[in-house]
């Protein structure tokens, strides 16, 4: 429902699916609150010796593959690019982070162009509203207040979305990419020394900032380990008993016959109570008010599961990105 791939199911198929969910056995055999395992690729080789991240020309990148029953798969590629800019006047101590989601490979037929536009903007607006302010600590992106700060651009490319659950997958991919991003250490050159020349490859700020070429001083953006996690709860309505069923990690078929979906961004860090950062409902059904606490409780319960149900292909962190070779040239 969140992308242009909405399936068309017949009424009897929908009935079969929902009855199965009521019996706690979904189409692929999972229980209602089971989530599928996904795979994160942050390096291309399986041995840690020669690996490099999926996108060498970006500061950080990750690829996420979620495949269900072998034939359908959701494939997401996320890239993080960092540049130096002047912070805004209203928030001079903060950097900036923007999230952009794109589905370039969606079938582009002119008959339904307007619908495609709407669907694409929907995923983009959901993810940027739910996540953009809750991912990293923006104040740590500041270099010199009022003058220089980092601008982090996170770009998500949906390569394939046939296994459903696109928003959750994008959220995990963004998190993995940010955890593998290295921000170069940039120091104001007036502090270092006056006679030194600066080798700043960024260009515009070459007389004020100096780039540390030692890669071991580069750091990941702070706050990413406590970033919010988005959990999508799919609500199905069973007409026979007039009851509502809640599902986690819906496949495309389940999204096609659901009543509505609620996307919850949960901030669950160690030692404190989990808090809900943002919530958004999509879909045409009108949700009964009493159901909302149940939905949010389920989302909060699912966060530790979602954070840990992945396997990493390749070594998880390696520093052999292009940043290193650029800085190593004499």
């Amino acid at each position: 429902m969140a992308s242009g791939l909405a399936l068309q199911l017949s009424e009897s198929e929908k009935l079969y699916l929902i009855d199965g969910c009521a019996d706690n056995c979904r189409l692929d055999g999972r229980e209602r609150e089971d989530i599928r395992q996904y795979t994160i690729v942050t390096s291309s080789e399986t041995t840690s010796a020669d690996g490099h991240p999926p996108l060498m020309l970006s500061n950080g990148s990750a690829r996420l593959i979620l495949s269900s029953s072998g034939s359908t798969s959701t494939h997401i590629l996320c890239s993080v690019k960092v540049e130096v800019m002047t912070p805004s006047q209203s928030q001079p101590n903060q950097g900036n982070l923007i999230v952009h989601v794109e589905d370039s490979l969606a079938a582009n037929s002119s008959l339904s162009r307007k619908k495609n536009e709407e669907d694409r903007n929907r995923v983009q607006s959901i993810i940027s509203e739910l996540l953009a302010t809750n991912l990293i600590d923006l104040e740590s992106l500041c270099i010199i207040p009022y003058h220089y700060a980092f601008n982090v651009s996170v770009d998500v490319e949906i390569l394939s979305g046939t296994a459903g659950s696109i928003i959750d997958a994008c959220c995990h991919a963004i998190r993995a990419a940010l955890q593998n991003t290295l921000l170069p250490k940039v120091v104001p050159s007036s502090i270092v020394n006056d006679a030194g020349t600066s080798m700043d490859p960024v260009g515009s700020s070459s007389s004020d900032l100096m780039l540390e070429s030692d890669l071991s001083l580069a750091q990941t953006p702070s706050g990413i380990d406590n970033a919010a996690v988005v959990v999508t709860v799919t609500v199905c309505h069973r007409a026979l008993t007039n009851s509502y069923l809640l599902l986690l990690d819906a496949s495309l078929e389940e999204e096609a016959c659901c009543f509505c979906q609620v996307h919850v961004a949960v901030d669950a860090r160690e030692g404190t109570e989990p808090t809900i950062c943002a919530l958004r409902k999509t879909g045409n059904g009108s949700l009964p008010w009493e159901l909302l606490p149940e939905i949010t409780a389920l989302a909060v319960k699912a966060v530790p599961m979602a954070k840990s149900s992945f396997r990493v292909a390749g070594s998880s962190r390696n520093n052999a990105s292009l940043l290193q070779t650029q800085l190593d040239i004499q």
């Binding site: 996108l55 970006s58 072998g70 890239s79 952009h100 370039s104 582009n108 037929s109 651009s153 004499q330």
Partner: protein, 265 residues
């Protein structure tokens, strides 16, 4: 007193290029057939050095508008788009429909593929090719052509031959093969000599050759063209080996001797 040799001096002493290659060497080429396993049709991911292009092919299928279809052959619907992070250095968001260079690349790609695919076998149908450029370090059009060829093969669409592409250029009288972004960018205020060339290697015919810079003489043009064709043949070796390997895997999977895991980088 110790003197340290700068890397650039070291490279020029041994006649190597700025990334350590010899003038006639192509970049590392990695091909992955069928990375998007769930999609109908075919897909391929081609990496020439750091330039990455993903092609998705769907078809043959019905035309969108009756007025588009041709009575005796299929039409090719080609679209080339770039991810926001897939441009040179900085990140730019452009609309794929209006960026002139991407539209031009789609046009060249269509011409190259029309010369390769056996369109007469599917009258009144449409084959849709969509190429997404994920990273650009020079040779964007060539990576797109190579990716489209592999994706068409993965989809099982009949073709006359592989259509392989490679760039060639000139650097003060040495011909270079497979230029990266630094070599493609203009130096000394003059545009660099870049000749992307696509050919059908087994037939030895050239499908696409394009150069927008001034060349000193027609002899130079012949030399650069010959270098481009040598580069194409080197690319062909690698692509053919990748396709053969994929076909062997699929065949043995069908017989039950092996199983196909999810395609991974």
């Amino acid at each position: 007193m110790t003197t340290s040799l700068r890397r650039a001096d070291l490279l020029s002493l041994s006649n190597l290029r700025n990334d350590g290659r010899k003038p006639e060497e192509i970049r590392r080429l990695r091909v992955q057939l069928g990375p998007l396993a769930g999609e109908a049709g075919g897909s391929a991911l081609v990496e020439m050095g750091l330039t990455m292009a993903l092609a998705v092919v769907k078809g043959p299928m019905e035309c969108l508008r009756r007025s588009d279809e041709l009575p005796d052959r299929a039409i090719l619907d080609v679209k080339v788009s770039a991810a926001p992070f897939g441009f040179g250095t900085d990140r730019r968001v452009t609309n794929a429909n209006t960026d002139r260079r991407l539209v031009e690349a789609a046009h060249w790609l269509q011409k190259a593929m029309e010369a390769t695919v056996l369109l007469q076998l599917h009258p009144k149908s449409r084959i849709q090719i969509h190429v997404l450029v994920l990273a650009d370090d020079g040779g964007r059009l060539c990576a797109a052509i190579n990716a489209a060829t592999c994706a068409l093969l993965d989809a099982g669409i009949p073709m006359k031959d592989f259509c392989v592409a490679c760039t060639a250029g000139l650097d003060e009288d040495t011909t270079l093969v497979d230029l990266n972004r630094r070599e493609e960018s203009s130096s000394n205020g003059q545009p660099a000599v870049v000749l992307p060339c696509a050919m059908l290697p087994q037939r030895g015919t050239v499908v696409l050759a394009q150069c927008e810079a001034r060349l000193p003489s027609t002899d130079t043009l012949h030399r650069v063209q010959a270098a481009a064709m040598d580069g194409c043949r080197a690319v062909f070796e690698i692509l053919q080996a990748a396709v053969r390997e994929r076909a062997t895997t699929l065949l043995s999977a069908r017989k039950g001797h092996a199983s196909i895991e999810n395609a991974f980088p």
